[in-house]
Structure formats: structure tokens, C-alpha cells
Symmetry: C4
Subunit: 285 residues, 4 copies
């Protein structure tokens, strides 16, 4: 017990230097404004990209037969690197449980777990499942999104048109349900429209102008209805475009105002091109 | 006869209290600004959604074999609920005949009738027809449209570009008729273009870039004509997009400006929402 | 001879009344601002629409077998009507040869000629050809275009973006030729890319996102190239849309200015919303 | 040796007149603002177009059998012309090596080399390879791009939205990788999704709404996922359109306003092209 007490004391003593060490580590791993932080990010991007490529080409039989051994080695190396990264993130994070429960925490865990299972439980049945779960490592690619500049502008435009996009999606779903159901009645299961979910799948394929051709209308009424839904889809494509374009034009106009002259009275900078007086303090520009 | 007279009197006496009762019911069913009215709407949305899902999955054979009994029960329950709703609407509506003749009145009736027919006329031949009509209940999903916010903005944009969309649709129909007819001559019935309506169907499938592939040009001239119609369709898609985007940009600009007040100094009215001073003359707003 | 002289005199006498008669006829046939002119146009629209529908459904075998006799009768009636119209147009037109040589003059002639040939030269071989040419009557549908309102706005937008659309079309053709040729080398004739024109057809089908599926890449490199052209097509679709939208926004802004106040000094009416002085004469508004 | 010295002297003497000759040639070949320069360009455009058409139709078997001899002759003529052009360009260019290494230099060389190889090394095996490389002559079509007016406006709009298009492409790649991998797990190789690259190919075909139909989802979950990616693709198409439209609107507005002059009275600068008086202060412009 005294040993435990001692350890506790020792820990609290080490806490400060430990904290400093953790703070530095936190800056390197979670931030990107220092030189080591940036290097860490670049290294991570490269490793994630390589690991994603490994997962992708590993599923090609001919490549697996030729370079299977090399890919297996690479996978082990990536797993070790990702394990170290995962542990470091858990250590230096202030709330490790919150990180572990977050989307990227789960993805990080899932991208290392399967390899360990395949090493420690080498039964063939487990391996088949593991082989599949391992592919989920691909979600790590989402980590790269935050490194891409200007994505904020796009995300902002999408976010501010969020409600309109909901309305649009709701319209699409309504159209698809109604046309799917009517086509199920019109075409009957003999022509491939075996049930309403299948018909709805056809309606989505048609409305979005994908048009696989695995299900096509056979009856005359079915063909007429298809034409209606096609032209409708052709017109509906205009709606999200209109929304995003309008939002984007607005966002860009705001963005452009940055360069215009600053008001000397209040420091406001987002004046319109034709403004003679500051709209906030009434100062002459 | 005296009994009938008595009844008439009794009715006119009851009229007033009855009217109050009907007014309350009317507010609950047709309006949404009171607490019971809102609760009624939410409950109706949930029931309609559930009933639509029931209709959809009921057509899947595997699900029908497993949960057919349960789905049949659910259908009866939904029918009873919709029957009560239909009767209540008829009672509290000031002009029941107008409601019964309206689009939603007919849909409401058609979504309850088939089940009753299948209960009271259980002949197998009638059942087959009823099974099909029952699917029309799906049109009830349109009732949900009015609960979606911001749909006015979209509908407004579509309405104000109504005439331009007509012009666009007319152009599409003209192009499709002419290309369909020419392709019928060029490809001949041997290559699947059996008649002009079929050729028009092909032209719509191609112009809208759906491209099922169930009919494809086989001759050289046919392929050249297809290329022309494809690039044309590719360009025509720009027209509705342009219309809706232009209308939307206008609507959004208008929406942003409507709230502003007129400057007393210079009469300028298109101030931004956050303007405190007129940007033209510097007057306080 | 004296008879001829007499006739000539008679003619020159009749000339004036004849001219009046021709002027009235001209107003009725070629203009639409009088009551008889409008009635003539409406009647012509209905007859053309009916005749186009007759041509279309006449190619459907089942309908032809059932109502063939009736459709044949209708065709004769339409031919007689169109013949009268054609002759009237030739008579009242100031330059009949110019009309006869114009696009619609040729279409008008071609829509009556085949029926007469089939009546006077009833050999089966000629009939087969006539049956095909008769379909060209469908081009009469283009006559309806000028009766559709607001088409000027669309046509204006297209015309003012004419040069940009040329650039766009040229880019599409260049991309399609290069990708088609490269795919011909990559896929080889064994995989269906039998020659470069075929490959170009495939490239157009892919770039415009039609995607029939009658020709698909089979090799690995071919699939990678296909992905490039698909994403490219996805992006290129933005260009005509951008052009038309930008033109349309400009056109609509001009169009909106109509409602603004008229300058008292010079009568100019197309002022901007924020104009305080007329930009043409400097008058205060 | 003295002969060589003499030659060197002779050369340096000729240098000046030679330089003049080279300068004139340079103006004719590389510039287009003189009459001979323009004629040279027009002639080159025609010859390139003819040669591209020759390459294209030469791959059609039926045409090759009929007109093969004539096409072979035409090819020799084009090769000679292009050889002269290539040599002239090398001579009059100030830095011949830089030209030879440039994209068009390589294309120019590759469009003449194969014919010479087939003439001097007429072994059947080499011929097969040469036949393929000869098709690359088609890249010469890119030379025509610079002769198309207004392409600058388009290229400018694309260039200024370069970074946003990168973000968009990155999003597309991310979506395609994730959906491709998930579909590989869901559909399994039995349904045609043999490996992840194949699945990614399917995802691109679906997201861009091309929809060949050579690979289609067979399982229920696969179809649901397909519907998600289709609607997503339908929505994502809005993003590049929005970007290009917004850039284009800006470019066009800028283009229209650039020519205007500043009002001396109030300093307002964004006058319309047809403004004679400032719309803000009424000052004469």
C-alpha cells in the first residue's frame, strides 16, 4: 500500500514535467502551426495515402498473388505506426475517452484492430471477416479533408443552403416514392418491377439521369411515365444548382468586399462598391 | 311527421353548441397554430409515414410471407384511423362536398376504400384489383409537403419562372419529336426503332442523358445524329438551371433587402440588413 | 390573240381590287394582330398539332391495322388543307419564289407532295419511299415555336452567348477526338472500339453522361481513362450552365428595370434601382 | 581545313541576311498579325483538320479497303508538309531545343516519325506499332485551340476557380474511394465487384450519372447505397456549376464596368456603358 502511496506522490511530482511533455506532444499531433506539427501532419498524410492505396490494390487478385507478401509487410508496418499514433493521441489528449468515442477515434481503432486479431487469432474463419473489416481503414482518408484549403467556402455555402437542400431532398424522395409506386402498378412484377422498393430504386436511377438499364419500362404507359420523370429530373437538377450558385455568388461578393477601403471612423471594411459613407458610423469614405 | 319537425327544431337548437364544437375541431384538424392543432399534425405525419412504409414493404414477397399478418393488422388500424380522420374532416369542414371533391379528399377516400372492399367483398378477383388500388394510398405522402419550411421560396422561384419553363418544355418536346421522327427513318424498325413513339422515347432517354441502353443507334448516320442530340441535351440542361438560378438570385437579393427602410436624406431604399447609416448620403437610418 | 389582250386588260383592271384582296389575305395569313389573323393562326396550330399526332401514331403497327383507314382519310384532309394554305401563301406573298425557297416553304411543300405522289403513282416501290418522306411533315411543328411567348428572352440569352457556346462546343469536340483516339489505341478493336469514329461515339456518350452501356471499357487503362473523361464531363457541364446563367441574370436585370420611374427630361426608363439622376440627361429623378 | 575556316567566315557574313530571313519566317510561322502570317495559320488549320480526319476515317475497315491507297497517299503528303513545318520551326526558333522539348514539339515530331519508320523499316511487326503511334497525330488538333476567340474568358474563369475545383475534385475522389470500398464489402466479388479499383470505377460511373450498366448493385443494401451516391452525385454536380457561374458572373460584370470612367462630382466609378451623367450626383461624365 505504501508503495502505491509512493507511486501516487511520485506521479504528482512527475505531473508537471509530464504535463509539459504532453503539451508539446499535443501541439505536434493536434496542431499544425509549428514546424514539428506541420512535419507530423505531412508525414501522416503520406502514410494514410500509402495505407489507403495498399488496402485498395490488395483486393486485386493478380497483385495480391504477386506482391501479397510485400503488401502484408507494409500492412504490419502501417498498423504499428497507426498504433503508436493512436496511443500518443490517447495520452496527450485531455479527454481520452471523448477522443476514443469520437468518429475519428473509432476509425483509428478499427484501422489497427483487424491486423492484431488476424495475428493473435489466426483461424481461417475469423480471417475472412477481418479481411473485410480491414477495408474500413479507408475511412482514414477523411482525415485528409481538413488539410485542403478553401474547403471552408464550399462547406459554408452548403451549410447556409442546408434548409433549402433539405426541402429539395424531401421533394426528390416524394417524387421517387409516388412514381415508384405508380410504376409498380403499371409495369407489374413480370417486367422486373417486383416490388415497390425495387420500383423506387428504378425511379432514383431514372430521376438522377444515371440510367443503368438493368430495369427499363416495357409497357406503353410505363414508357410515357418514364419520359415524364426524366424531363422532371432534368428540370429538378436546376434546383440544387440554383441554390448553391446563388449562395456562392453571395459568399463571393462578401469575400470580395475585403479588399475595399477601411472606414476611419469605426474600422468597418465590408463596404459595397458604391458606398460613399460607412453604413455603420456614417463616416465619409 | 311531427317527429321530423321536432327533430328539425332540436337540430337548430343544437346548431350553436354544435357549431362551437365544429369550430374547435376545425382549428385542430385544419390549423397548426394551437397546441392541440400542432399535436394533431405531428401525429398525422407519423401515421402517414408509417402507413406509406407499410404499403411499400408489403409488396416485398419475403417480408409479406414473414410479417404479412402483422402488416395486415397495421393496415386495418391505419384504415380505421384514416376513416375517423376522413369523417371528422367532412363534419367540421364548412363545405364538405368541396373537400370530398378536392385532390386530397379523393386521395383520403381512396386510401380507406380498398380495405373495406376487401373486407366486405372477399372474392379473390376483387382482391387483386384492391391490392393495386391500395398502393395509391401513397399519394398521402404529398400531405407532408406543406409541413416543410422554406418550400415557399422554391415554389415561388418555380412559379415566377413558370412561363420560361413552359418555353423550355416546349423546346424539349419539339426537339424530341423531330429527332425521334428522323431517327425512325434513319434506323428503321429492324434496329429497334419500331415506331415514332418508340423513337421519341429513345430521344427523351438520350436528351435527358439518362441513357438506359435498351435502344441504341446501330447505323452510322444514327450514331452521328445521337451525338448531336447528346451534346444538345448537354447544352439544354443549362437553360432551366439558368432560369432557376437567376430567379433564385433575385429572390434571395429581394428577401435580404425587403426589411430595409428608406433613407430620409436621399431616399435610397436598398440598404443592407446591418446598415445603420445610409451608404450614399451618410444619414442616420 | 385579241382574247389574250382582253384578258390582260381585264387583269390590270382587276389588279387593284385583287391587290386589296391580297393585302387582306396577307394580313390574315402572315400577321396575328387582327381577329381573323388570330383565328387563322389558332386554327393552323390545331391542324398542325393534329397532323403531327396523325403522323406519329400512324407508325404504330397495332394502331395502323385498327384505324389505318381513318388515319388515311385524315391525312388526305390535312393534305388538302395544307395545299390550300400553301397556294394561298404563294398568292398573297409579295415574293412567292423567296417564300418557296425558304425553310418553311420547302417544309410546306414536302408535307403535301408525298400524299399526291402516292395517289398518282401508286406503285408499291414508290409508296415505301413516300411513306418515309411523309414523316418529314413533322418539321411543321417548328412553326408553332413562334407562337410561344417569352421565347425571345431565351433566344436572346443564347444569341448573346453564341460565341462562348462555340468555344465550349469546340472544346467538347477536341476532348472527344483525343479521348476517342487514345481509347481506340488502348482498348483495341477486340473490346468493341472497332475504329476511331466508334471510339468518338463512345467518348460523346460518356462525356455527356448519357452512358448507354453498348460500349464499355474492358482494360484497366481504359477504365482509368474513362473515369478521367467522366469527371471531366461532370465539370464541363458547368461551363454552358455558367454562360447561360450569367447571360440570363444580366438579361433579367435589364428586364426588371422597365418598371422603374421614367425620366421627365429625356423619357429614359431603364434606370438602376439606386439611381438618383438620369444617366442620360442628368435630370433629377 | 581552310575550307572549313572559309565556310565559317562565309556563315558569319551570311548571318545578318540570314537573321533577317529567319525573323521574317518567325513572324510568318509563330505570329498571326501580318497577312502572310494569317495565311500560313489558315493553311495550317485546314491541313491539320484534313490530316486529323484522314487519321480518323483510316481506322474504319470498309473505308480503308476502298480508299486505302488514296488515304495512304494523303498521309505521305501530310507527312511531308508537317516535316517541312517542323524543320522551319526548328530553324527560325531562337531556342530550337526548347521547342523540340515542348509539348507541341514532341507532338509535331510524333506526327511525322511513324510514317518515315514505316517507309524505311517495312517489317510487319514494326508496322503494327507504327499504325498505333500514328494515331497520336491527333493531338495536333490542340493547336487549333489558340485560334478560337473568347477562349481567354473561359480559361480565366477556370483558372481563377482553380483552387475551388481542386477542393471539388478532392471531395469527389474521397466519396468515390469510400463508397467503392464499402460497396466491395457489401456486394462481394460474386456480384461483379471483384476488387476495390473495380468498385471505385463503378462509383465514378454512378456519381457522374453516366450509368453504363456494366456493373449494377444486386443486393438490397447495395441498392440503398447506390441511391445515396446517386442523389449525392445529383447534388454535387451543383458545386462546379456554382463555382463557374459565380466566377463567370463576376468576370462579365467586371468586363462590362472596366471601360467606365470615374465621376468628378462624387467619385462614383461603376457607371453603365451608356451613361452620360452620373446616376448618383447628376454630374456630366
Amino acid at each position: 500500500m505504501s508503495i502505491t502511496q509512493k507511486e501516487t506522490i511520485k506521479r504528482s511530482v512527475e505531473q508537471e514535467s509530464d504535463n509539459n511533455w504532453r503539451d508539446v506532444l499535443y501541439d505536434v499531433i493536434f496542431k499544425a502551426d509549428t514546424v514539428p506539427g506541420k512535419s507530423f501532419d505531412v508525414a501522416l498524410i503520406v502514410i494514410i495515402a500509402l495505407s489507403v492505396i495498399t488496402v485498395i490494390i490488395n483486393t486485386v487478385d493478380t497483385i495480391d498473388q504477386k506482391y501479397g507478401h510485400f503488401l502484408h509487410m507494409a500492412e504490419l508496418v502501417f498498423t504499428v505506426i497507426f498504433t503508436i499514433e493512436y496511443i500518443l493521441r490517447l495520452i496527450c489528449c485531455r479527454r481520452p475517452v471523448a477522443y476514443a468515442k469520437s468518429f475519428f477515434g473509432v476509425v483509428d481503432l478499427f484501422s489497427i484492430l483487424p491486423t492484431y486479431i488476424s495475428v493473435f487469432l489466426p483461424s481461417s474463419h475469423v480471417l475472412a471477416v477481418v479481411r473485410i473489416i480491414r477495408v474500413l481503414r479507408i475511412f482514414r482518408v477523411l482525415k485528409l479533408v481538413k488539410y485542403v484549403g478553401e474547403s471552408e467556402l464550399l462547406i459554408d455555402a452548403l451549410r447556409s443552403s442546408r434548409r433549402k437542400i433539405t426541402v429539395f431532398l424531401f421533394s426528390v424522395i416524394t417524387i421517387v416514392i409516388i412514381f415508384g409506386s405508380v410504376m409498380y402498378i403499371v409495369e407489374t412484377p413480370e417486367n422486373g418491377f417486383t416490388n415497390i422498393p425495387q420500383s423506387i430504386y428504378w425511379a432514383v436511377v431514372t430521376l438522377t439521369t444515371v440510367g443503368y438499364g438493368d430495369m427499363t419500362p416495357q409497357t406503353h404507359i410505363g414508357k410515357v411515365l418514364s419520359m415524364v420523370i426524366m424531363v422532371m429530373g432534368y428540370g429538378i437538377i436546376a434546383v440544387p444548382t440554383g441554390i448553391v450558385t446563388a449562395e456562392m455568388t453571395k459568399a463571393m461578393r462578401h469575400h470580395n468586399k475585403v479588399s475595399s477601403n477601411v472606414c476611419e471612423g469605426c474600422g468597418y471594411r465590408w463596404h459595397d462598391d458604391d458606398a460613399h459613407y460607412c453604413k455603420h458610423c456614417g463616416n465619409s469614405l
